[in-house]
Subunit: 209 residues, 4 copies
């Protein structure tokens, strides 16, 4: 059973996390002070430390929640999707949206993580989820290979490549004029590239048989 107290505490944690999220999405970790977050959350500095052990912990929490969310969506829209082609497009689109929204946070986390300051426990949490994500997509791709919808390559490697292709272009963030309508164009482009690339076209499939 979840007590009233626990619900309330979780709620407040969410408020702080939201405030932190909105700041850390826009500015790098180092430029956001604990005070900034507290102010944005409408509470005192000390309050943060009742919900999070650390400034790093806040970041770790945000990343963890984000990745978990991404995982769930991938399970829903890719793993459970019988249409392999659609599953693949979704996989890439989800990543695009994820990085579009969370690039700054993700990048901050990576930096802190590699710079050896983050609790191994928190770090592992995110790494595990990423692996789970890759494994799910590996299954999808393996299925596609089995029923000859896809070219025969290592499905794990392919999952990683696809994960990468649609990472948002950090570079492009500098050109702020585009953004919105850009997605559609690029999506069309990628679809075309990928379709003709990773899917065996009918003629070749015929040849194989």
């Amino acid at each position: 059973m979840v007590t009233m107290r626990e619900r309330e505490k979780e709620f407040k944690k969410q408020i702080i996390a939201d405030a932190a999220y909105s700041l850390l999405s826009k500015k790098p970790y180092e430029s956001v002070t604990v005070d900034d977050i507290a102010k944005a959350a409408g509470c005192g500095k000390g309050t943060l430390y009742q919900y999070f052990e650390n400034k790093d912990h806040i970041l770790a929490y945000l990343v963890s929640v984000d990745v978990k969310h991404l995982c769930e969506e991938i399970e829903e829209k890719c793993l459970k999707n019988p249409d392999i082609q659609e599953a693949i497009y979704n996989y890439m689109l989800l990543h695009y949206n994820y990085y579009q929204a969370n690039h700054q946070i993700f990048s901050s986390w990576l930096r802190r993580s590699l710079d050896a300051g983050i609790q191994p426990e928190w770090e592992q949490d995110v790494l595990d989820m990423r692996e789970e994500k890759l494994q799910m997509m590996t299954k999808v791709l393996a299925r596609g290979i089995k029923n000859q919808s896809l070219i025969e390559v290592d499905p794990y490697q392919l999952a990683r490549l696809l994960e990468n292709i649609f990472r948002d272009i950090t570079y492009s963030l500098l050109d702020k004029e585009q953004e919105e309508e850009d997605l559609k164009k690029v999506m069309e482009l990628v679809k075309m590239v990928i379709s003709n690339g990773i899917f065996l076209n009918q003629s070749l499939r015929d040849a194989k048989q």
Copy 2:
């Protein structure tokens, strides 16, 4: 004419830049102190400020030099390359190598840049060079489209997509076991994906005619 003095000054600047490069390649900007750089360059802290206005300036200089180098290589190995397919592979490989080596620095620069602290002048410098790079590749791709080696898509968009595909996978940096031999495998994979994807295969080209 270049005086003796200027040569000497340029030489010392290079020494400092080299020292900074080796440090900033491994650790994020924020974790590298001006003192670290001075120590590595074998000079006093104050000396740095005679060759660079700023800590940021050092970073900007490094990025600028790196990107210029990348540009030159792209001009050589892509723009001037008559074999379109090879030009495209080179384009991606060069980017892979570039990001592999300079990811940390590039990422640091992006961060500082977006955080609005960097002199617009230095920033523009790098942006211009990136644009130049894209324009060169756009020409290559346009040529390929014209002679029907490539599918018909916006060549500029395609250049950007390709630039992106081979960005090194920051995520993967966490799995340190792989790295070296990984490149070949992934390169093979990408070649296959791309080949079958963006190049019209013979049967389709025949059909078009």
Copy 3:
């Protein structure tokens, strides 16, 4: 008359004091948080403030209770003891035991006290008790001087000196190997030193007469 309420209140105060005692005996005042004490007492932080005005107040209370206890024992085993020599040994032994157990607390109190942060009222309380303690021993010593068991010196000064001799050796606390069996040895040593020193030996006493 003491109401039921008051009894209950006093009882809870004791629980908190006991918890505080066990913590403050081991660690310096500054390293023990109010939260630690509350946790150890099995109650909320706020509750403490219903029984004590202050963190300092808790400390003052502990010291006051301890010193009162020491006073009572000195009255019993020294003042009321007809055997002067035994009374003196007891005096020192009681101090030894007292400081052995309460050094940390006593030292913390002294620090806070000198640092001018403690309510004068609480401070005076302890000072008075110390004076009372000294006065009792002064009486004992005066008696000893009168009946020629002791050398003729200012009994008050002597009481203070004796109080001091058997203060536990803080320094020695660092050598943790000794402790237990140490006491006996040192006690023997002190007895010898003191006996031959402050007690007129028979031959001299004979001579005096």
Copy 4:
């Protein structure tokens, strides 16, 4: 050879140490901020950290210098003193003066040290010096025992007891009116106590022979 620079640096370190000393002699470590010390030394906060790694380091340095000084004086006035009785008085008087002046600092150091926060290296330094001090006095006492000036007891234990007897009475620090002229009285008292106590008196020595 000692360069000009090093001399100057050592000089500045002394200035800071002196400032710290005058503050830490009067108030406990915790009540003295790094800022206070900097102000007292007439320099900025950051400057301190060029000469000392830590706030703790400052304290450790002060204690170390003090104890070294005490050691030197004990070597001079006790170990090298042919008159055993005088050597013993000096031993106690030196300790009295030492603790009188440095009690606050010493106590602060002990606290930090036991609270496990201090670098083991610094800690050992002081412990070693204390042992050296005890060993010197042990030699003196052993000599005294050998030529039958002193009672036969473990000279090491006795050295420790004497070290303790003349520790200044922290308690007494609260009675500020006395202090100065107090010393003489108490010194007289102790001399008498000790003389009659640890020195065999003539009659007994005769008996032994």
